[in-house]
């Protein structure tokens, strides 16, 4: 469904992606792991067209992402940004219901609000926060509002950039279950980035490891422990010694 072939992206002299190949099948979840600063977030932004790759091909359902109607293309996506990226001029519920309040998916205000409150409940937030502003919430709460916004319009493809970072272990478990549920029950296709190995095992059908600008290893999550790949082994066990330098 989503396919990247030979994707390159450099910022000045900083060559971040150097030929990324990745395939994500419809209705499956792919978890991308890799050291901080290796370009995982940049890769997601390339797929969404927020960052223009220097070379390579990115297709969704066989069509190039730069071709065709970009609005219709983006309407199929939901994205949780690493920093939440909530609109701080709007109250929480209008953030969550943003898509439902304007454009093609517009519906009555009361209905949009109802959906927003329901999505907030699913990410473990009480209806009380619906009328607060993002700046009044804690980091982890903002993250969960961002997650609620990403899933609000029930998109078929959802990207999660570090969905559980900054959450307590219980809330992280709730979010992992939610993501898993969205993929298995709603049949969504998901790409998640995470550093949390518990999350990886809870969310992933497949895992890909990004390092040095390329996908070093990819395979089903069941093979993660027996990958035989020194990079993956070092990463999942969090060892300081190994092929991945500690200073990056």
């Amino acid at each position: 469904m989503i396919e990247l072939r030979g994707v390159h992206k450099a910022f000045g002299t900083n060559r971040v992606l150097r030929g990324v190949d990745l395939f994500v099948a419809r209705g499956t979840s792919m978890v991308v792991i890799g050291g901080s600063g290796t370009g995982k977030s940049v890769m997601l932004k390339c797929i969404l067209g927020l960052v223009e790759p220097d070379a390579g091909e990115i297709t969704v359902d066989g069509t190039e992402v730069h071709e065709g109607d970009h609005d219709a293309f983006l309407a199929r996506f939901g994205m949780l940004f690493q920093g939440g990226a909530l609109f701080d001029s709007l109250p929480v519920w209008q953030n969550v219901a943003f898509r439902l309040l304007r454009g093609a998916l517009k519906r009555p205000k009361a209905e949009a609000r109802e959906i927003a409150v329901e999505k907030l409940r699913r990410v473990g937030l009480s209806p009380d926060v619906a009328d607060s502003y993002p700046a009044e919430l804690s980091g982890g709460m903002q993250k969960r509002v961002g997650l609620a916004r990403a899933i609000a319009a029930e998109p078929e493809i959802i990207f999660f950039d570090e969905p559980t970072t900054g959450l307590d272990p219980i809330m992280a478990g709730v979010i992992n279950d939610l993501i898993r549920e969205i993929v298995t029950e709603m049949g969504a296709t998901a790409i998640a980035i995470t550093h949390d190995m518990t999350s990886v095992r809870a969310i992933a059908d497949n895992v890909a490891m990004l390092h040095d600008g390329v996908i070093k290893w990819t395979g089903p999550v069941a093979d993660l422990d027996a990958s035989g790949d020194p990079y993956v082994d070092q990463f999942i066990h969090g060892r300081a010694e190994g092929p991945i330098a500690a200073v990056r």
Binding site: L48, L74, A75, A85, L86, F87, F98
Partner: protein, 260 residues
């Protein structure tokens, strides 16, 4: 260092400037095209109107009041003592309505509005809110730029009109209190002397300046670099460039309107 190095640096600076001018021109065209095409974000437009128009009234009014007063004193002191009672109101009216009202009003709006637009949009840019807008199928040009540009283009002429009245009142107050003029004669001199085009030209200038201010605020905000420093830089550039462009546009418009 090669003797040609300074030339090279100069060339690079000129090229960068030309590139920037081109980028701003394209951005302006795109902004205008988004203003006239649906969808139209009424709520954002309303908020922008309040921010840019209503909340700028005090600062524009005070600026005009003191300028009108100072102008009256200057002209009186500056040699027009023969028949001062007729000349002071006339020059105050012309000076405020044609030139100082729009320019000073535009500059005050640049300081207040270009900076806040650039800081707001710049912060949105560096916290990925602009990216988030795009992924939510909302065009930032349409949602952020178009309402602000339209609101400023409509609101600043109104601010200028208010500033004109307040500025003339400043001259009137000083004329009465300090120079011992007759109030009725002052007003009569003002009204008889001013022509409709004097006032209209100032309002047209106001619209142009409003457009410039919102456009530069949005442009620099959208192109803000990363981090707090990037936003600070964008804010500064928005104020500086809109002020300079206001002066340039003022000269061009004056040339167009009044050069015989």
């Amino acid at each position: 260092m090669s003797p040609l190095a300074p030339l090279g640096a100069l060339g690079r600076a000129v090229l960068r400037l030309l590139g920037e001018v081109g980028a701003v021109a394209l951005y302006a065209l795109s902004a205008v095209s988004h203003v006239v095409r649906p969808p139209f974000y009424a709520r954002e437009f309303g908020v922008a109107l309040i921010q840019i128009g209503w909340l700028s009234l005090p600062v524009v009014g005070l600026t005009a009041l003191f300028t009108g007063g100072a102008l009256a004193l200057q002209i009186y002191a500056g040699g027009a003592r023969f028949n001062a009672e007729a000349v002071v109101p006339q020059i105050v009216a012309i000076g405020i309505v044609r030139e100082l009202g729009p320019v000073l009003g535009g500059l005050m709006v640049a300081a207040r509005v270009a900076s806040s637009i650039a800081a707001e949009i710049g912060t949105m840019k560096v916290t990925e809110q602009i990216d988030a807008l795009v992924t939510l199928s909302t065009d930032p040009m349409k949602y952020l730029t178009a309402p602000r540009v339209l609101a400023a283009t409509l609101a600043v002429p109104v601010l200028v009109a208010v500033g004109d009245s307040v500025g003339i009142m400043g001259g009137y107050l000083v004329g009465l209190a300090r120079l011992g003029f007759n109030g009725a004669a002052y007003l009569e001199n003002t009204v008889n002397f001013l022509e409709t085009w004097d006032i209209l030209s100032g309002l047209v200038k106001g619209a142009a300046f409003g457009f410039i201010v919102a456009l530069m605020g949005c442009y620099h905000g959208m192109n803000s670099r990363r981090g707090a420093q990037g936003v600070g830089r964008a804010t500064k550039q928005a104020v500086v460039s809109s002020s300079v462009l206001i002066f340039a546009a003022n000269y061009i418009l004056t040339e167009l309107f009044f050069a015989a």
